[in-house]
């Protein structure tokens, strides 16, 4: 992958910040985005499951973890959404958590599609 392809993610990721965190190493940025793709998808799925069970504690825990992973990957908008979900899990209704999770899922799916298309695909 080259930095030009990485720029396609700039709607969701602060590419400059990500590259700085990766010490300018595109290979490491690629690795991180691949790991993020897997772990974030797993966490969003876990959130959906927790919400189905109305397990607010689990929602808070997983969304908090997700917030950190996304922030470190310079996906700041998504990180903020995860943070809001984590906060709402402490003091909000299930419907509000559900709305926030849908919003998070929508944006994550868009980023995941871009990662799959631009970063992890061999073309």
């Amino acid at each position: 992958m080259d930095t030009e392809r990485l720029e396609h993610l700039s709607k969701f990721i602060d590419v400059d910040d990500l590259m700085k965190r990766c010490f300018g190493r595109i290979d490491f940025a690629t690795l991180i985005l691949g790991v993020l793709n897997d772990s974030c998808e797993a966490d969003v799925c876990e959130l959906e499951e927790a919400l189905t069970e109305a397990n607010a504690q689990r929602v808070a825990k997983v969304s908090h973890r997700l917030k950190g992973a996304l922030a470190n990957s310079a996906a700041f908008s998504l990180s903020k959404k995860a943070d809001e979900l984590s906060t709402s899990a402490h003091d909000s209704s299930t419907s509000e958590m559900s709305e926030r999770l849908v919003d998070l899922r929508r944006e994550w799916d868009q980023l995941a599609a871009l990662i799959n298309d631009q970063v992890t695909s061999k073309s």
Partner: protein, 357 residues
């Protein structure tokens, strides 16, 4: 590049763990990762880690709980503990510090911030191990020596005064900074550490030594120098070990090459050796010994002036003269005891100069 300090990352978020691992390796650390607190605790118990960076919120065991368990374990060496969290609030910080954490990093962490915080940790670990070692060695030496109890304290002070004076001279500014002054203060008590290897029949003999006995006694410089050299070789980044080694090995060298153990001359004698040579002799001259009373500062001053350029580096003598009021103050403040046998030959060599005082 940092020497290979081993760092344990305890983090359930695989993305953050990867970032940390990569950054730490980039900075030259050895890194291992644990996915939760229990796994992390088991790894800490192996004793291989002097630094832990742990997430706060983890399944099973929280980061503050892990820290508390490590502290309760009373490990033989200190583990520097950094808590990593997305919570920037005071409650979490207080909980972490109460558990014994040394520092905090808030996600998303910047590599630059991580680096300076780790350096702070390294400095803490280094100071701890340094001070423990110096304290232990100095105490060990005191148990084997019949020198006066305050000799080491005076050595620290006299050496510090000379180094401090030199730090203000243009031609020493590059070599002698505040750090050097502090290090010479800390390491000068180790000048005679090699005496631990000198047999009692020689070390503790009252009165004058025979030539053979003095030859044995002279070996204390080599014994001490070699011991500290071995430690310095294992820790090449530790400047204080280099200074301690040089002091132990060369504090009996003389500026004209007539000293021991190697007969080094002039600037071939490390600066720390030239400083402590004067400090050691001044202390010997101004304290009592079995067959002579302590000399006055004026007499000692005359003897040292006589040794300028032969026994002592002229610059050290000048530094001594510039600050002699402080030498007098320290000598009066820490006045006690008798002179060690090690210095008798050096004093005997200098005593003819008394006639000219």
């Amino acid at each position: 590049m940092t020497a290979c300090l081993r760092v344990l990352v305890v983090e359930d978020d695989v993305v953050s763990a990867k970032f940390l691992e990569n950054a730490l390796k980039h900075f030259g650390y050895d890194v291992d990762c644990a996915r939760n607190g229990c796994e992390g605790y088991d790894l800490v118990r192996t004793g291989r880690f002097s630094m832990v960076i742990s997430d706060f919120d983890m399944p099973g065991m929280y980061g503050d709980e892990l820290c508390r368990k490590i502290r309760e374990g009373h490990r033989s060496s200190y583990v520097y503990f950094v808590l990593l969290t997305s919570h920037g609030d005071t409650d979490h910080i207080i909980a972490g510090l109460q558990a014994g954490a040394d520092d905090f990093l808030v996600k998303p962490f910047s590599p630059d911030e991580l680096r300076v915080r780790l350096r702070t940790g390294e400095r803490t670990l280094s100071l701890q191990s340094r001070d423990v070692m110096l304290f232990t060695l100095a105490n060990l030496m005191e148990t084997r020596d019949n020198e006066t109890g305050l000799h080491l304290e005076r050595m620290c002070e006299y050496s510090r005064i000379i180094a401090d004076e030199l730090s203000q001279w243009d031609n020493y500014r590059n070599e002698v900074d505040g750090d050097y002054v502090q290090l010479i203060y800390l390491t000068s008590p180790l000048h005679d550490i090699g005496k631990v290897g000198v047999p009692d029949r020689v070390l503790l003999k009252p009165g004058k030594l025979t030539r053979e006995e003095f030859d044995v006694m002279k070996q204390h410089t080599v014994l001490g120098g070699k011991t500290l050299a071995a430690i310095a070789k294992a820790h090449p980044a530790e400047r204080y070990l280099i200074i301690a080694r040089d002091i132990a090995m060369t504090h009996h060298e003389q500026f004209d090459g007539s000293g021991y153990p190697h007969g080094l001359a002039g600037k071939d004698i490390p600066l720390s050796g030239r400083i402590t040579a004067l400090a050691d002799v001044y202390d010997a001259l101004t304290t009592q010994r079995v067959y002579k009373p302590k000399f006055s500062h004026e007499k000692a001053r005359g003897i040292i002036l006589e040794g300028k350029g032969t026994h002592f580096d002229p610059d050290m003598v000048q530094a001594f003269l510039n600050r002699e009021d402080e030498f007098i103050r320290i000598a009066n403040l820490l006045d006690s005891g008798t002179v060690p046998p090690t210095l008798l030959p050096a004093i005997d060599q200098l005593v003819p100069a008394l006639a000219k005082c």
